[in-house]
Amino acid sequence: MLQVQYFLLLAAALFCIGIFGLITSRNAVRVLMSIELLLNAVNLNLMAFSNYVDPQNIKGQVFTVFVITVAAAEAAVGLAIVLAIYRNRDTVDMEQFNLLKW
């Protein structure tokens, strides 16, 4: 039978891969994709707890739907920001976005 630990370990692996991509990638769009990976790992955690700890009164699924909503809004605004930066700086390299550095 599937245990809750399997899902939690899988979500932890996905989260770590997401953090690795978030820090090391240089393309700004890939950074946003890594953020989506992080949010999906959190969603998987919430769903696993909702099924195994609270199977009758599924509040984890409610939180997952809210996280999906916020993630969609975040993706739209983030990609719009990437477009605006690309229009100003003519690059998507994260190392070039140091306008606010002193």
């Binding site: 989260f15 991509g21 090391t24 393309n27 994709m33 009758q56 719009a80």
Partner: protein, 210 residues
Amino acid sequence: MNLAEGVQVVSFGLLALMMIGAALGVVLLSNIVYSAFLLAAVFISISGMYLLLNADFVAAAQLLVYVGAVNVLILFAIMLVNKREDFVPMTNAWIRQGATALVCVGLFALLGTMVVSTPWAISAAVPAGDESIIKLGEHFFSDFLLPFELASVLLLMAMVGAIILARREYMPEDVSTELAQPPVLTLPERPRDLVATPVDRPQFPSGNSK
């Protein structure tokens, strides 16, 4: 879902392999279009995980919202910033990557030991299963009504903000001048052609100037 245990374990293994492999591909591949399509594979496998976790509605929402909306949005953004540029190699880039990999592996080890060693309070109740969507609706319209309505306001604000951020600040001048000219000498069905015409073409072809 009423699946046999063997089917559940095998499908979990396949979905986990697909998810981890596709996520590594998203992060590590150099072509970003491949990364975007592998991101869709990650989302689809997570949707399968939700089906294994007795959540039909959230699995469908995951497919619709992530694969149908977010991934298409990312693909459009890749097409809009489609500039094949070779990034300037940084000095000591491998130190950064190695340190990040070390921290991520350490974080995974920490989380793994925590997950394995914690006695989770597993409930023995029967999962909601097919009634999960009814329970979800009851939650949304009773005790989570305020966050539900706030989510719609948030989506509206995000939509307006994305339009304002991604909009061009100025209109190109040639289009505005073309629009300003009164198209009195043309046939009524032609002005759409005028707007799309670049500057270097003659404005009114001699054929229909009468």
